[in-house]
């Protein structure tokens, strides 16, 4: 047998040789981008395109979408977030025919159409960590198209506060002889700091304009309503205080923003500062500023950055992970790992929840995926360090026992326009069937959920003795949805007595106190003031 052990390396050299005329000192011109990609990429390649939650390698994705499908076709696209129109154009034009991804929020409708039309096949809809993991096993990229703020002559990269998944993609590609191509905003003599070393990088191009970035984590406190304040009070008293939750992750909704904003007011009154919510795994949410400034927060590790928070974060290095240059260092892979293994609680919202507490934000006609929530909202069976809340979730007195992560779903019983959140069957089931997916796109499985909170109260599902009691507990707080109307009054009373269900009055939460005056900041302007002028919100959030 004639064994060759370096075919990938040889193929890489051959490809690079094809474009040597266009490359000088590791760089090519923006105007040659399409030519370079066309020469380098071969049909059937696995191409990892950096489309993060926030930062987008949009110059390279636009160039990729212009290639001639007669020459470049049947690519297998690997991408965290299908977020831009040209991502869909890759399927429409026949350049890519297969995709593995995590989330497709803004393009979810068009993606579903492409699948229905047979132009693209979905491998799987992953969690972020799962997708990154596969880059190191069976989905190693042949080509990586990534984005950075700065490159120096040696190809060292500075990826700024929004480092997100860039190092993960680069590492998986570079160390298995894939080709790493970077679009940068500018070339510098010396990088602000080195986030990715130059010998992981093959080619650099200065983009026609700085990469696209979206402020996805800014929630305007003006839009938080009294019901969200009520639910925040229930969470604080019924879960954080009761279980002494110190390490946690919050979703990005207005309801969790409300929790962040009542820490310095309601939480302070409860004497919980320093006792709960000290260690966070979270993007730099502007709504966390008042809690940080009031001394609640010890540390925050971030998946990515947030536009406008740069100066504030840089001025709080005790709290945030920052480089020697002062700016935030984020890393989605590490942060997802931290959220999975090192936090005691995840809390987030959903659009639909069934009687077994399975939840999904998937709606018919859209294929959206869930990003990080399924990972963060799951119990890591490999955890081996203990904490008070983790142990409280199980009640075994056997010699060998384990604890459990607290996973909370926080929902109003109805969405606006009268659509119930509690449903007999998730739309995800029908969606999975119609899209030909092997699994219904469930965001968080009910058996991972320990608590559900609505405006009606808290269901302590982890305390339920059996599936029947679990369902009764959920129905007890499901309001006047069909599921809630099925609750038996006597049974609900019994569940309240045994502590499986708690209504606001059981937790000492007064509904009349639930109003916006409890919010430590009631506007973006207030957040700026809390930050001492360090927070610089994007234009669209300014109303003064």
């Amino acid at each position: 047998m004639n064994l060759a052990w370096n075919t990938r390396r040889r193929r890489k050299q051959e490809r690079l040789a094809r474009i040597s005329g266009l490359v000088r000192d590791g760089r090519f011109a923006a105007s040659d981008a399409a030519t370079v990609l066309q020469e380098l990429i071969e049909p059937g390649d696995r191409v990892c395109l950096e489309g993060d939650n926030q930062k987008q390698a949009d110059f390279l994705s636009r160039a990729l979408a212009t290639l001639d499908p007669a020459r470049v076709h049947d690519l297998h696209l690997l991408i965290s977030v299908i977020g831009r129109p040209e991502h869909i154009a890759l399927f429409e034009r026949g350049i890519a025919s297969q995709v593995d991804f995590s989330y497709s929020g803004p393009q979810s409708l068009r993606l579903a159409q492409q699948v229905a039309d047979g132009r693209v096949r979905i491998g799987a809809i992953h969690t972020y960590l799962e997708l990154f993991a596969r880059y190191f096993v069976d989905l190693t990229p042949d080509i990586a198209l990534i984005a950075a703020d700065e490159a120096d002559a040696a190809g060292n990269l500075y990826t700024g506060p929004n480092t997100e998944e860039t190092p993960t993609i680069a590492e998986a590609t570079a160390f298995r002889d894939g080709i790493v191509i970077v679009q940068v905003n500018r070339i510098v003599d010396r990088c602000t700091r080195v986030d990715i070393p130059g010998d992981w990088v093959d080619l650099v191009v200065v983009a026609d304009k700085p990469y696209e970035i979206e402020p996805l984590f800014t929630r305007d406190p003006e839009l938080i309503d009294d019901v969200q304040v009520l639910m925040a009070m229930l969470v604080l008293r019924g879960i954080y205080e009761r279980h002494r939750v110190r390490s946690l992750n919050h979703g990005i909704g207005f309801d969790t923003a409300a929790i962040e904003l009542i820490l310095p007011t309601y939480g302070e009154r409860l004497g919980l500062r320093g006792e709960v919510c000290t260690h966070w795994v979270l993007n730099p949410h502007p709504t966390l500023i008042p809690a940080i400034e009031s001394g609640w927060v010890r540390s925050v590790h971030c998946y990515g950055g947030e536009l406008g928070m740069e100066r504030y974060v840089a001025a709080r290095p005790d709290i945030f992970f920052t480089g020697r240059d002062g700016s935030l260092r984020s890393n989605r892979a590490f942060c997802q790992a931290a959220g999975l293994y090192a936090t005691d609680l995840f809390i987030g919202s959903t659009l639909q929840i069934d009687r077994d507490a399975n939840s999904s934000t998937a709606t018919l006609g859209r294929i959206a995926g869930f990003g990080g929530a399924p990972n963060l909202g799951s119990d890591p069976r490999g955890r081996r360090h203990s904490s008070v809340p983790w142990l409280e979730m199980t009640s075994s007195d056997e010699e060998v026992r384990r604890g459990r992560k607290i996973v909370v779903q926080l929902v109003e019983t109805f969405q606006e326009s009268g659509v119930p959140t509690f449903v007999e069957r998730l739309d995800a089931v029908e969606l999975g069937r119609s899209a030909g997916l092997p699994l219904a796109p469930v965001m968080i499985y009910g058996d991972d959920v320990t608590h559900v909170v609505t405006e009606e109260g808290v269901a302590y599902l982890y305390r339920a003795r059996d599936i029947d009691e679990r369902r009764a507990a959920l129905a007890a707080i499901a309001g006047v949805t069909k599921i809630g109307l099925g609750a038996d009054e006597g049974r609900t009373q019994a569940l309240r007595s045994s502590g499986v269900v708690a209504f606001p009055e059981d937790l000492g939460v007064r509904r009349n106190e639930a109003n916006r005056t409890l919010l430590a900041a009631r506007s973006v302007r207030d957040l700026v003031e809390w930050s001492g002028g360090l927070y610089d919100p994007p234009k669209r959030f300014r109303s003064w």
């Binding site: 310095p264 506007s523 302007r525 809390w530 234009k539 669209r540 300014r542 003064w544």
Partner: protein
Amino acid sequence: MTAPLLLTESFAERGARERARALLDPQSFRELIGPFERIASPYLAAQGVVPQSDDGTVVARGTIAGVRACVVATDGRFLGGSIGEIGGAKIAGALELARRDAQRGAPTRLVLALDTGGIRLQEANLGILAVSEICDAIVALRELMPVIAVIAGRVGVYGGLSLSTALCSEIIVSEGARVGLNGPDVVETESGIEEMDSSDRPLIWGVTGGRLRFRQGFASELVSDDVPAIRAAVERAFQAPNELGPLVAQAFPDPRLERDDFLRAMEIEL
């Protein structure tokens, strides 16, 4: 740890009734034609709009710094604080009664706490007539005593009531409030998005925001969104001289300049 914001009492957060209560001395609030009298607009239901029992305008008597007073407040949350027949009559009526009191030598201090997008489209003809009466009544009352406007809500003042505001003796604005004749969406509809992009918030606040109105001298005070600060400003306003001279044009750049050059010449950030 200091947290000054936790000590402030937001004015903008409150509804009209609570704003009126906040401007009057503690315990002195007495509402006239309150919600239980149910004088609500009869024109809205036929146009698919549920009416509010006070029509979005609250009239309250009480005292300010111990002196007889009346606060009229509009609620920007109900139909954008728009002024129809009832709200308009409440404002005009209060101004007329304050004038009667002043003529009788028992003056009532009058404060207009406005938060309104303008005349209510669903009652347009009645609204425009009411505003003409309000303008007349403000000028008439000003011949005898100051009329104070507090513009510190989330909407600010647009439309016909912006003329009424401009007629007041002293105008107190917050940074978050706006004062303009045409709302940004109306300018965009009538003159195009190149003229005004109604989604460009910094531009909107740049050309109509409280900060600019104060810089122009249109407003006499720029206040933070804090009840005690606004109360103090109101008291100062009643001490100020009540001069009723003609309104004359102030200097502005050549309007033939390109839009952005014009705005920059006015030191408006783009």
